[in-house]
Amino acid sequence: MISTLATIDVAFKALAPRNADWASIMPEICVAGLSLLCLLQAMFSPKALKSLIPVTARIGLCLVIAMACISNRAWSPTQGPVTTFAGLLQVTDLTMGFRLTFLISALLTSFLATRFLTERDAVIADYHHVLLVVTAAFMLLIQSHHFVTLFVSLETAAVGLYILVGYLRRSEASLEAGVKYLVAGGLSSALLLMGIVLVYGSLGGPGVDSLNFDQVALALNAGKATALTMVGVALIIGGAAFKLGAFPFQAWIPDVYQGAPTPTTTFLGTASKAAGAFILFILVTGPLQPLAGKLAPLLAVASILTLLVGNLAALAATDIKRVIALSGVSHAGFILAAITALLVAGDVEGFNRNLLSYYLLAYIAGSYLTAQALVSIPVADDHRRPLLGLRGMMRRSPTIASALGFGISSLAGIPPSIGFFAKLFILILLAKLKLWWIFGAALVSVALSIHYYFAILREAVVRPTLDQEEVPVIEVSPTAKFIIGTLSAVTLLGGLLFFL
């Protein structure tokens, strides 16, 4: 009996986390601590100081971004992936870019949310708390190296996002969007879990932990895949595609994006989409790499259909939030094209593996600039923003009009904006690999997107107001002006960063 206990003790000691493990997830721990700090502040600080809660969150996030950058400097790309927590997590050369995507989205969402929620008489502290929990969960998700970490962090993020979507309890639209997202998200996680179970069961055996990504890859390489495994793999890919909003899992997007509070819409469109993109990339290049020959055509077809479906649906939409939502679907198509290309390219030298992070950071700059302009425009209902409402924006507020101009041009990919370079690099990679079908679909989608993106700009900038009537001037707060200025500079000059 005692000897059995002794062996168990040794086994436990081998699995116990080392100090280096904890250091590797310091940014995540800090973000989670920050989220608790927001709640504590809401409980204990006097009423006059409550407005400091978002400030705490922002300063904290800036510090975490700095810390993540510094800790990344200590990590050299030559040392290869480092596995931590007995194979539960893995840090690679891409982790840094992935983390930054989520941290920057959370920071910009905080700027969007504060004034938006105050105007609608909603609590700010809780919003920041949930936002930071979701951010930390996403940051763990993109390091997961085991299906348990993948499932748990994905679900933590999903449950938080249900709250953020249905956050405006007095708004029917927000609640309806929340419930629709809940059912769609619940369905996708049930399918994902079944996929994980099938892969685990069909590849496992005595002594093989087939939830670990390395073991899955080993078993697939050994040719242990059965029909059951393939069904499981398809369900897992579907779960990631749902987060990304790729065809055929894009049906929930327009309604949820339209009904959700605009800060949440933007966070869903950027951080949640990024999470889907990164986890899909990690899965197809990690545990499912042995199936690359079968997965690449599947992803290619999904990418072409996502590009076309997103653009055609966006052409027909007349509400700004729906146009942005559906154009987001076509951006998901671009991301899928990049993932397909990276999968086909394998370990070939001469292209940047950070392509996905670049594309998403460019997309974040454009999205948040547009969203900052939208939330500065006063409307009765957050979910009713017809294109006509933008008419005369040039006279009502030149700041908002120029923010829309820079944001939309970057999303559409007009040179020399940052969005143009992001799209260009993906197109170059597709051409290099001779993936002409995706290349063609991507070009068509850029051409189509010009039409609906410029419909927004036409209303806001070009069209004159009817017979020079008096239009109410919109005041833009100094914080919003600062964000608009910074992001405009990023969209305009950020493209140059690629050449550094």
Partner: protein, 102 residues
């Protein structure tokens, strides 16, 4: 008992899963839809336990605990949303949710 094999468990789990999935796709009452979602998770946990037993690894059984915890959190948030929606709209029929459209 020696006649129950892995296949028996998997067939039962598969039936539960299909029952849940068809409920989600066909029913209109949100509460029933939500129950069917939970049924799908239950089917997965049953398959997980069966695989864990027949593969002789503990990892699947451990994942079950995580799934149950996650499902509890999801139910807490989900029911709160559905109740809040019912208070505003007075209905939980999914075909009557048409505030959001173009």
């Amino acid at each position: 008992m020696e006649h129950t094999t892995l296949a028996h468990h998997l067939i039962l789990a598969g039936l539960l899963f299909v029952a849940g999935l068809s409920g989600v796709l066909l029913r209109r009452n949100l509460l029933v839809v939500y129950m069917c979602l939970e049924l799908m998770l239950t089917a997965s946990t049953l398959a997980l336990v069966a695989f864990s037993r027949f593969n002789q690894t503990m990892d699947g059984a451990i994942l079950v605990f995580f799934v149950i915890t996650v499902a509890a959190a999801e139910v807490a948030v989900g029911l709160a949303l559905i109740v809040a929606l019912f208070r505003r709209r007075g209905t939980v029929q999914s075909n009557e949710l048409n505030t959001l459209c173009d």
